[in-house]
Amino acid sequence: MAQNAIDKSVDTFPKFLLVNARVRGDRPAIREKDLGIWQTWAWAQVKEEVKALALGLKELGIERGDKVAIVGSNKPRLYWAMCATQSIGGIPVPVYQDAVADEMAFVLAHAGAKIAIVENQEQVDKVLSISDRLPSISHVIYDEPRGLRDYDHTRLKWMNEVQEIGRKAFASKYSGDAWEKMIAEGKGSDIAVILYTSGTTGNPKGVMLTYDSVVVSSQNANAFDNLTEKEEVIAYLPMAWVGDHIFSYAQSYVAGYTVNCPESPETIIEDRREIGTSYAFAPPRVYENLLTLTMVRMEDAGRVKRAMFNYFLKHARKWGEKILNKESVPVGARLKYWLGEILVYGPMKNRYGFTNVRVAYTAGEAIGPEIFRYYRSLGVNLKQLYGQTEAAVYITAQPDGEIYADTVGKPSPDVEIKIEPNGEVLFRSPGVFAGYYKDPEKTAETKTPDGWVKSGDAGFFDPKTGHLKIIDRAKDVGKLNDGTLFAPKYIENKLKFYPNIKEAVALGDKRDYVTVMLNIDLVSVGSWAERNNVIYGSYQELAAHPRVYQMLSEHVDEVNKSLSEEGPMAGAQIKRFLILHKELDADDGELTRTQKVRRGFITERYGPLATGLYEGAKEVGITTELTFEDGRKGNISARVKIEDMKPHAPAAPMGKAA
């Protein structure tokens, strides 16, 4: 940490790059699993690469303040492109690589990007297909030349060429430290990056973050978990997501630790294991999937092995967290845990690639307490944090030793928080964003003149722990007609904690009772089907299967049970539910790019089902249009059964919202 004693003069990432190249020039900066091995670049090399690319971009006409779109999966050269752009005063605009053409068109046009730096043929095609809508784009630069040989290269360039141009330019017209000078011109108050947040409604908004805000929150975060240059992180979340930007770029540059890019999306788990990350960050879904995978695999394990596995898990559930929190634990339990470490916990962590993890975060959404505890009981220091793009991530985080499954922790360093009467959480910190790009009124809506930002989330401080608890989106907290408080996300999460349930959409605002639409998890239900030899040809068939319905209705019932015990929530038990005939999909706009459900959109898209749910129908027919990976559209129609539930008697008197 010493070398990171906050030096105010170093206030932009290009400057940090220079520092790293100087201080730890031969330490690995970034790796990529490519051609079968982990190709590694040390900071000094990265500096040279970035320099060449930066000057190349300058030659292609990037001036201070120009926007450069960056589209693709996590690749070293795309991260370099980000830094290269910043080094010459440009503003990188990372875009979700799985965005469909229209979305991308909007972002690129709105940002007015001059150059698009993309990963491969797929992205090139996408950009070219919408180029008529993008007058501002002068060049498209690609990283992976495969299949692009015969393309018209007047406006298309291979990144290596650009770097070549840069090197030539340096040789010919720049003096020794010209580039360093350009970097020196950058100020902390400049805009560092524009991140487009896929809002749950309407078009994405471009969140402008200054260097100061990003650098400060990165420094704080590094200090908070005392991260050093020795950390190994694996970068696999969308580059356009603030989380990845902070963890895999900002914090890495500030602390000087190593970022690893996986070989391909299919191999992430193996790659993570090979690297053995020491600092992990992922949305709950990732941890869920790992756990689901484990449970599915263990179903197939031999009886003895499974028994042993469950036995030690039980023990871990009992003592694991205590041991992790350094509480006093009887020697016997410790010994048994140690044995378990050898037989189960250690191997499991090894499987997950968490063997060397010092700190792991889950964020973006609430995580199931069971899942959360599972990892902690194995000895993985998994923590929750609450963050937003507008805050450069950090709003609250759980300090070591103060870990609770249902809170998101205490305010991060330099962050102030206050709760509005309507329950909405407001925050203020050096990390807050400069504003929405080209959207002053939206900015005004969210950011008060005195710097408070409306999080849009409803929550409260838990008097017992002093930690913040988030219930739901403030605007989503609605009321049933009888006035009962209705927090859909809260209910949905309870449902989603069951591995069999992949997605849940709860309805009830301004209605008489609560209903839900469910998505089953094809992995776990699928393997359940195999084990109980339930034959099915498609997701649709499986979803409609009576035994699946029966299984899920048990889950729903359990949820009702727990709701009934939670005073205010007791009135909001689920009366009816159905299982959707197709998986909710971002390409159909049903989920956001970060895989959050778009409740409003879904209720209207599946209008017939919604009405069916409330008109007591036993079965509803529906036809839905869907989009395939390649953008083609098609229709699927089905008759969806609706299941009735009987509510549990409330354990406490009905709580009506005031």
Partner: protein
């Protein structure tokens, strides 16, 4: 379960192609070598070293030889014993003709003679395949054992018609002849076997190993890829015979102390073959496991049965071990044609994915 590979990532092809890419394996092999070089000689009794370890290592080497031919290149050979004999007799002749050159040099170089013989008898392998070839190798076996019996020149016209091992020393220590202690001979054998095993593993993991396996798996495709079948097969014969030859020389000079032609009869060939089958075709590790099992079975059987309360005389024990070996061969061919080595592979895989089943 003991394989914790998280964090073991490779940044170079060299590391990725190392003999033992997994740290735990490297540790394991280091321990084994350590034990073999220090613990065993320190604690091992003369009997243990002389009657178990030395022959076990020598047979393992012979098994490697046969495995290169049969396991890696897919050329079934029933002539192993003969090639071992060539090594032994060559070594004897060379050692007596040039007594001033050190015996161990001859032990190793005698391999070249049997390699040459191997090439000659390998020549038919271009025209003939499969069982026909097996029979051809049988021819070499019979011819060679005939030579051993009928050509007194090979044994310097000894009346005993047997090889008599001369006394030789290494660093003033007797390594051959009656005075050589089991320990001295053990170290020599161990050193040679370890070294040659290492070389073999280099071979089979590289270009040549791939050529051999290619010829084994699909000779037509191999040929159309420009692999010269005859050269590849002959090379396999040469290397294989070399290993067998050295093993044969060691068998006489470092184990038996003197030997007659019967030591290299067809039964020897069969014994080695069964080691390779049970140990695992196409696996160096298997050669050791197979040798251990086949060689030690007759030794272990009586005490084992004894522990079950039935005591039997040596002859019966031998017959029983024959039956057991036969049964084992069939058993392995049925449940796991790749032998003990594959069983180990499977176990290892289980340990790596532990506690997952796959």
């Amino acid at each position: 379960m003991f394989y914790r590979e998280a964090g073991q990532f490779k940044t170079t092809y060299r590391a990725d192609m190392a003999t033992f890419p997994i740290t735990q394996d490297r540790i394991g092999i280091a321990i084994i070598l350590m034990v073999a070089f220090t613990v065993i000689p320190y604690f091992g009794s003369n009997f243990f070293l002389h009657a178990i370890m030395i022959p076990f290592l020598i047979f393992a080497l012979a098994a490697i030889g046969l495995n290169i031919l049969t396991g890696y290149t897919g050329l079934l050979s029933l002539g192993t014993g003969g090639f071992m004999g060539v090594g032994a007799y060559a070594c004897y002749k060379l050692a007596t003709i040039f007594p001033e050159v050190h015996i161990l040099i001859w032990v190793v170089t005698s391999g070249f003679v049997s390699a040459a013989v191997g090439i000659v008898f390998g020549l038919p392998s271009l025209r003939i395949k499969g069982f026909y070839l097996a029979v051809a190798t049988l021819a070499s076996q019979f011819f060679l054992s005939w030579c051993f019996i009928r050509i007194p020149w090979l044994v310097n016209y000894n009346v005993s018609n047997a090889i008599e091992v001369p006394r030789r020393t290494l660093f003033g220590v007797h390594v051959t002849g009656p005075e050589a202690t089991p320990h001295a001979r053990y170290f020599v054998v161990l050193a040679i076997v370890v070294a040659m095993t290492w070389l073999a593993s280099n071979l089979v993991r590289g270009r040549i190993g791939r050529m051999w396996m290619a010829v084994r798996d699909m000779d037509i495709a191999a040929e159309l890829m420009g692999i010269k079948l005859l050269n590849t097969k002959l090379l396999a014969f040469a290397v294989s015979s070399f290993y067998c030859g050295v093993a044969g020389a060691m068998l006489v000079f470092l184990y038996y102390g003197s030997a007659e032609a019967t030591a290299f009869s067809i039964n020897q060939s069969f014994a080695i073959l069964s080691m390779v089958i049970i140990g695992g075709l196409g696996s160096l590790l298997g050669s050791f496991l197979g040798a251990a099992l086949i060689f030690m079975l007759p030794l272990l059987l009586p005490p084992f049965l004894g522990s079950l309360g039935l005591s039997i005389q040596a002859a019966t024990a031998e017959h029983l071990s024959f039956m057991v070996i036969g049964a084992l061969i069939v058993f392995f061919l049925i449940v796991e044609p790749h032998g003990l080595a594959r069983l180990w592979q499977i176990a290892k895989q289980k340990l790596r994915v532990w506690p997952y089943p796959y």
